[in-house]
């Protein structure tokens, strides 16, 4: 039997070329995990019965009906269709960092965005995508059609990170563009002015949106594994430095920890969901975060 869950691991996905397929595999892997988890049945509601046909999952057979009618009926679930999901993916130059042979932050973000699109569409949600750096580069309005996934994935695959970030401005602009309450998922390394970012997030929240900040950092940025003398050349024109990494590791890690702590604290202040994602992390975390936020949004 195929083990879908392996596709939650970015390394396993690296051998697969098409982003659309990757998104499907991530979500299938996640759903397969859910069936064994306490979150089983988390996102769908019962709608009607229909007669069993070969290929149906026998776990959906309604045994009570069978007991009464002596015929096999399977339960069909009502899938909600009233959520609008905005995915905001940072494609600035800083997101183009990743270790040799590994995923860049931008690539990781693409995977997450594609998977969330697939999952949301599967949940009958309308999904839109905004790709941005220091301005909005691509804007795909939310849609729930079958072709939306293809549209989103195409946009994700076409973009190349090259410019600096202006996350705060983009968030502010997005807040003004969204007309009705939505679930906004921001995927970024947040290498920007935190005050501006907080302002943008706050605007999104004030308009009644549920906001998730998926803070993507490369694994190297979180552990600083370098050992040899290294010349670091800053992306987005942030300068350069010749460094003996072991001399600076501790201080650097303190800086990065302080940074993530600040982002987390500011998100908490505005009741924005915050999740720190490492590019080495499996994709179930962003999906679970998304579903939890979606459920919370529907509960309101």
């Amino acid at each position: 039997m195929r083990d879908w869950r392996k596709y939650l691991d970015p390394r396993a996905l690296s051998r697969i070329g098409r982003l659309e397929l990757k998104a499907r595999l991530i979500v299938e892997g996640y759903i397969a995990g859910l069936h064994r988890s306490p979150y089983h049945g988390f996102s769908v509601e019962f709608a009607q019965h229909r007669e069993y046909a070969p290929g149906d999952d026998i776990r959906h057979v309604d045994w009570k009906v069978y007991g009464r009618s002596d015929r096999f009926y399977v339960k069909e679930y009502e899938e909600e269709t009233n959520m609008r999901v905005y995915l905001l993916l940072d494609v600035s130059e800083s997101m183009d960092y990743g270790p040799p042979g590994g995923l860049t932050k931008a690539a990781y973000g693409r995977h997450v965005a594609a998977a969330l699109t697939f999952l949301a569409l599967r949940q009958q949600d309308a999904v839109g995508l905004t790709l941005f750096d220091d301005r909005v580069r691509t804007m795909i309005p939310p849609g729930g059609t079958r072709g939306q996934l293809q549209t989103v994935v195409s946009a994700l695959e076409d973009v190349a990170p090259a410019r600096p970030t202006a996350l705060g401005d983009v968030l502010a602009q997005t807040a003004s563009d969204i007309r009705r309450k939505s679930l906004v998922v921001v995927i970024s390394d947040v290498f920007d002015d935190l005050d501006a970012v907080q302002t943008g997030l706050r605007r999104l929240r004030h308009r009644g949106n549920e906001v998730i900040l998926m803070h993507v950092l490369a694994e190297d940025e979180l552990v600083f594994p370098f050992t040899r003398m290294t010349r670091f050349e800053g992306l987005e024109g942030t300068g350069e430095a010749l460094v003996e990494p072991s001399d600076l590791r501790k201080a650097y890690l303190a800086e990065i920890a302080n940074f993530t702590a600040q982002v987390r604290r500011r998100c908490r202040q505005d009741r924005t969901d915050y999740v720190l994602l490492s590019t080495a992390q499996t994709f179930d975390v962003p999906l679970a975060t998304f579903l939890a936020a979606r459920a919370r949004s529907r509960a309101r």
């Binding site: 800083s94 183009d96 960092y97 003398m229 010349r231 050349e233 430095a241 072991s246 001399d247 201080a251």
Partner: protein, 741 residues
Amino acid sequence: MMLALTFLAPGSLLLLGAAAVPLIIHFLARRQWRVVRWAAMEFLLRAMRRQRRRLRFENLLLLALRVGAIVCLALAAGRPAGEEDLLPAAAPQRHGVIVALDASYSMLYQDAGRSVLDRGRELAKSLLAKLGSGDRLIILRAGEFADPVFEDRVSEDARLRAREIIDLLAPAHAAMDVYALLREIARGAEEMAGEGLPVRAILFTDLQAKDWLRPGRKSDPKIGESLQALARAGAALEIFDLGSPHRVNLEVCDLRIDRTLAAADVPIIVQGAVRNYSAEDAAGIAVDLIVDGRQVQGRTLANVPAGETRAVAFRHTFRDAGVHSLGLVLTTDALATDNSRWLAVNVRKVVNVLLVDGAEALESRDRATFYLEAALSPLGDSLGEALSPFRVETVPLSRLTAAALEGKDAVVVADADRLAMAGPLKELLARGGAVLVFLGPNVDTEAYNRDLLAADDGVAALRLLGPAGDPSLRLGVKLRPKALDHPFVQFFADRDDVRLDGADVWRYVRVEAGEGARVLAVYSNPDASPAIVELPRPQGSFVLVTTTADDAWTNLPKWPDFVPLVHELLASMAAPGGADRNLLVGWPFTRAYPAAAYADEVRIRAPEGGITVTSLRSAGEGARGDFSLVYHKTDEAGLYEVTLLRQSAIDPLLRERYPEKDLFAVNLAGGEGDLAPTGAEELRAAYGAAAPRVVAPGEGRAETQVAGSRRREFWRPLLWAMALLFAAEAFCATWFGRRQR
């Protein structure tokens, strides 16, 4: 205060260049980096800004520790020595310094125009200049003894005196006695240590292996114990090896003549030997025979292989009686002292011997003296040279009168029934003559004992007991040498062509040798009966042979060995004290002179020309009227002239035996010419931790070290510092690394 440091191994300072290695590694590492395009640059730069000062400090500290450790290592390898006064703790400290200068004659080896001893003198004097006022100084002359020639506290005046003493320090014609030297150093060190002074003992020497090691280059236990005692006394010995790296030397190691008694017109063979102590063969070595100061013959030794000895022989005939000198002289090499060897030879005129036939036979063949005549009167050759120094006349016992003894030097009595000791024989002995007695069938033991007792001048030390052995059985006993140091016995011991124990003796007279009698040979019977006995005499000599001079009791006269036996016996008796004329350095010259004939004053001229005036010292109680000259200052090799002043008429025989112009020769003991060196490693292997520290020979090294004689070497603290710096570096690197992880 002089601040300069001296490096004893300056070549090792090249290692200082290695101090640049950490710097080079540091800069090379900064030139080899990889490039990472980095997003979180803001945080990295912020971390850098925060850490810059600390990092710079840590890097500089680590760099300094690494460079410092390498510098310490390089400096330690250079063996720095600095003024002790530079050390605050040591500044007020007074010191005890013992300076020993090897004065053995091998130090006279000439190298680059000056002797090793001169170099040692200069170094010793430069050491003096480094001593501080109040230091205690002992200077030892290390020769056959270790003589303290200076012992005082250092002051300007003392320094001048010490310099003068060092300049005048005479070389000894002897080897250095290391054991005596170490004992003397230990004594001085104990005294100094008792005064609370730290002691430094320094020896300037050519470090000959033979001085420090036993043959086979083994350790000498006595030296080992002395070194340990020295270490216990707190005075480790430092040796400055000044020996020449060349060390080429030949030595005249032997000179002798082939007979005990030399006589005018009787040829002798002068035998010498030359030893090559070098590591290479020596070719074309010219050897000259010097007689009475003139070169009379020469030879050239084609080759003397390394480490071997080659004999050289000359035939020479003295034409005049008297004391003559013989010398064997080599072509001069770098060590001239052992290039010659000398002999003083008392050449007699013809030795007139009266043979007394106790058998009183008419036919010569029946005489008891028949074989003696033949042995002492061999036919001469055609060159006017006699084969024997003896002129023989034979008389029957009845004609042994004072008239018969007129002009005779020796009497040989064979098989006489009695001895008229109180008569002419006693007179002959009193004149310094020789009496040789063979016993035989006619001997009346009682009469002999009476005659010997009547002589009452030592002859009573012998008593005849009666004949022993059975001639009819022809079961003989052999002669066995007894007094191995007697010239007569030595003659046989040194030769292969004649032997003392060849013939059989089947009858002899048992004798009892009292105190003072000297048994030269015994029989091989179980009780080792005396065979040849020398009786003590103040003047003259008396020897008794307890068997016959003919073939009645022994076949000895028929053996060829009989001729040298009689010759050597008579020669040793007619020329007593011949060996005493030829001494080794340090041996006293002792000779008895008839007191009545000579004035008390004696002049002795040493080889280098120094004249000593001494007096004949009374020997014993003077009962026999003779005086002994005892002269101890024979510390110089060569010929010594003794001049006595005759004050009365003297018997010609006495005059011949005790000439007014006498000579004696003093020679080197030999072996000192072996310049083969030992070294630090060999001494360490032989004597372990107690071994002296050796400053190996090398151009300028000894000078450099001595110049810092009051200095202390710092290599050990430097090694400690290096270890500490490396440990600190490792700790800091770990600590800094841990903080950064």
